[in-house]
């Protein structure tokens, strides 16, 4: 294992020291609970937005704390859900009287821990609603699994729901919007390499030089199938086809599109991939209204990428364009 770390046990807490040193003007860190807050939280009358999950997906979620996105992000150990104490502390701290929305990616541990926290928060009198993101089309048979995983759509959802909350909409309104974003979003990813969890010290799975893993999640877990390494053109097709077929998206639709790097793929290749994806969408008669290309929801140093599409109407696009000022996304300010 070659990593720029001091001790595998301290990776998350030491990274938070760095976040504080870098962004202390805008963010506040609760080191005990490993929660990143917007410095001006709670905002009176604004719905509080919190998310969280295992670390290792940066900039998700901590990088999306700030004006127009999240009020707080709870950082778990690497690839491990945060615990209810953390979400409970964050929920109380960001409640400005208008209630709190929990944005949860659909993983067994995350859902259970957020559920326990929501129960405890409700006992303490804070109004909480939750949205569970489950956009990964690689998981086909939801009846016989823990359901689809929450992946790339989470980024877009945090942006849109964050803008809605910032504009003063009510908790139910923001929560219902978040549910609609999730319903309109689909993602699919592939990996060229595995990744190494510092505490484990070696790659989570082995992948030969001439293979790639299709339908991966974001935790270094193996995907649905192992296929021969393909060209970017073929790989784009392998990602876009199942996404388009699933919603389905059709001629005349507009989308917010994201080509996301898993952490170890250069931006050069991501833009090359975006070009291929854009072409396929054009051929399908789909307009890309807005796009993101870069590392937005990662899996440590895994090489590979994912494609996310959110079918977008004027409301979504208006919320997308609203000002945002976070370490991970910044425009309009």
């Amino acid at each position: 294992m070659k990593k720029l770390i001091n001790d595998p046990a301290d990776v998350v807490s030491e990274a938070l020291l760095g976040v504080e040193a870098a962004h202390g003007d805008r963010l506040r860190i609760d080191h005990e609970h490993k929660v990143i807050y917007r410095k001006d939280a709670p905002r009176h009358g604004k719905v509080g937005l919190i998310s969280g999950g295992g670390s290792g997906h940066e900039p998700l979620h901590g990088g999306y704390v700030g004006l127009g996105m999240l009020d707080a992000a709870c950082c778990g150990e690497i690839f491990t859900s945060p615990v209810p104490d953390q979400m409970l502390a964050a929920t109380s701290a960001v409640d400005g009287g208008a209630g709190v929305l929990h944005i949860v990616k659909n993983y067994t541990g995350d859902v259970m821990n957020f559920e326990m926290a929501a129960e405890l928060a409700a006992d303490s009198g804070v109004q909480v609603r939750s949205v569970v993101v489950d956009d990964d089309v690689a998981v086909q048979d939801s009846l016989y699994t823990a359901g689809r995983r929450g992946v790339g759509t989470t980024v877009i959802l945090e942006k849109l729901a964050g803008a809605a909350a910032e504009s003063g909409r009510s908790l139910d309104d923001v929560a219902d919007l978040a549910i609609r974003v999730n319903q309109a979003g689909r993602s699919m990813g592939l990996a060229l390499t595995s990744c190494t969890v510092p505490a484990a010290g070696k790659p989570t799975f082995e992948l030969a030089e001439d293979e790639m893993e299709l339908g991966i999640g974001i935790h270094g877990e193996p995907g649905r199938s192992r296929v021969p390494l393909a060209s970017a053109r073929e790989a784009a097709q392998l990602l876009v086809d199942p996404v388009l077929a699933d919603l389905p998206y059709g001629t005349g639709d507009s989308v917010i599109a994201m080509v996301n790097g898993m952490g170890g793929t250069p931006l050069l290749e991501l833009y090359l991939m975006y070009g291929e994806v854009h072409k396929l969408l054009e051929q399908a008669g789909i307009t890309v209204a807005r796009c993101l290309v870069g590392n937005y929801i990662t899996s440590l140093e895994m090489a590979g990428c994912s494609v996310s599409l959110v079918k977008a109407d004027d409301e979504f696009i208006g919320l997308w364009d609203a000002p945002v000022n976070t370490p991970g996304l910044r425009w309009g300010v």
């Binding site: 541990g109 259970m112 821990n113 690689a138 989570t204 877990e221």
Partner: protein, 208 residues
Amino acid sequence: MANDVDLDRFIEWLRAFAGAIHDNAAELTELDSAIGDADHGSNMDRGMRAVVAALGAGEFDTPAALFKKVGMTLVSSVGGASGPLYGTFFLRFGGALGDGAVDAATLGDALRAGVEGIVQRGKAEAGDKTMIDAWLPALEAYDATQADGIGPALQAAAEAAAGGRDATTPLVARKGRASYLGERSAGHQDPGATSTVLLLEAAAAALG
């Protein structure tokens, strides 16, 4: 028939379980890396160390108070799915022990209450390739041998759990992260069922 279990023996059980988790942490993580996210051993080890620290720091009047502390400690230190699942198990287990002497029947009822908590939290059923596949045969074996006393009943439960654990290997996972692998999850032993066997083996050694 073995004596009733007292507070000291429960503490001995928890220490033995913490030791077994620590000794097997690498194997648990290895199993989890095949079909999950490579953290079951390290997470459980962190949680049980926190439990041992809490045992050293606190005084407990009743088994119920002890296991409440254990459950809350696990929930707040393990993370993942194992934290809520093991935490809920101990909370319900402790809650069902009551204030009186813990005989074989009471212990059996408490184990069942704990497992019902796991089922409620995780919504897994038999054959989903989870810790439930170790627990269900263990409860059955315990009930069948309960008349012989706590020691033999826990021994039988641990052996049945090991059988259940081994039987998870060919199964296709339907809950937890392993379920995302579909058919490819077959051929690997479930990490949660594996740590469950450690819990019952420690119980047989400490409480029997």
